[in-house]
């Protein structure tokens, strides 16, 4: 599998590590309650098909990426910098 990093370009998957589903971008409020936190931390679908995950380009630019990909075909559909998805800090 290869991932096209928005900064580094087309790279071998060995340069990346996976965190998990993009659910991690939607952290509940501290007082959201046990059900919300249980959901956030533990409950995941296991889709056969398209999904969106967080990957870290640790052996490259050190950016967090949101990768849309197909778990059946291993096709990578779209890759974004997480900060562009969340509107996080941006030097530009």
């Amino acid at each position: 599998m290869r991932i096209t990093c928005p900064l580094c370009g087309d790279r071998d998957s060995r340069e990346f590590s996976i965190r998990g589903h993009e659910t991690y971008l939607d952290r509940p409020a501290p007082d959201a309650g046990e059900a919300a936190w249980d959901d956030y931390l533990h409950l995941r679908d296991n889709p056969a098909g398209e999904t969106a995950e967080l990957w870290y380009h640790g052996a490259g630019c050190a950016a967090w990426l949101r990768v849309r990909r197909n778990t059946v075909t291993h096709e990578v559909l779209k890759v974004d910098l997480v900060r562009d998805v969340t509107g996080g800090d941006h030097a530009d």
């Binding site: 580094c8 071998d12 630019c61 030097a91 530009d92």
Partner: protein, 187 residues
């Protein structure tokens, strides 16, 4: 009182020459990480140009002026390699001295790309990885910053603690490429 002796990262290991390829160590006076503050990349680039003659590089790019090189080194980060960063750059960016954190190796020669290709997953084709191009990637299991400095030359930055491993890995790759070349009769 103890007298301290400065040793370079690859002291006693380099230079080596095998086949057409030479591996040497460079010892820049300083390596400074430049990390522009929010909204400041342009101001940093202007100040960098005035102070050191080089602009802040875009992703995967490097340029040099005199003995000082600037090289993109990751998300919102570049390394200034050579002269110590002038103090006024701190108005626009976080500056971190990394001089002793890196081993700076230089691989040069006709088969340099063949040697490096044995250790890194990136394409080193002269069409896609040209002079002035740079990449954060792997050298074996080590994270590296690889810069093409010429048609047959690459500068490779490796964590200083891995200098001996990197030198060994490159030595083995150089031997492999030279041995293979020796098996092939000249055309």
């Amino acid at each position: 009182m103890a007298r301290l002796i400065a040793k370079s990262a690859a002291s006693g290991l380099l230079p080596i020459r095998i086949g057409t390829v030479t591996l040497t160590e460079e010892t820049p006076a300083a390596i400074t990480a430049l990390m522009p503050f929010a909204g400041k990349p342009r101001a940093l680039s202007v100040a960098l140009k005035a102070a050191h003659g080089v602009a802040f590089p875009g992703p995967n790019r490097s340029s040099a002026k005199g003995g000082t090189r600037v090289c993109w080194s990751g998300l919102d980060q570049a390394f200034l390699i050579g002269d110590p960063a002038q103090a006024d750059l701190a108005d626009h960016a976080a500056l971190v001295d990394q001089t002793d954190a890196w081993a700076v190796l230089h691989l040069e020669g006709e088969d340099a790309a063949e040697v490096l290709a044995r250790l890194t997953p990136i394409s080193l084709s002269r069409d896609s990885f040209k002079r002035g191009h740079a990449a954060r990637s792997l050298l074996g299991h080590m994270t590296a910053l690889i810069i093409r400095t010429g048609a047959q030359g690459f500068t490779i930055l490796i964590f200083r603690s891995m200098a001996a491993t990197a030198t060994h890995e490159l030595d083995v790759a150089m031997r492999g490429v030279a041995a293979r070349a020796a098996l092939q009769p000249p055309p």
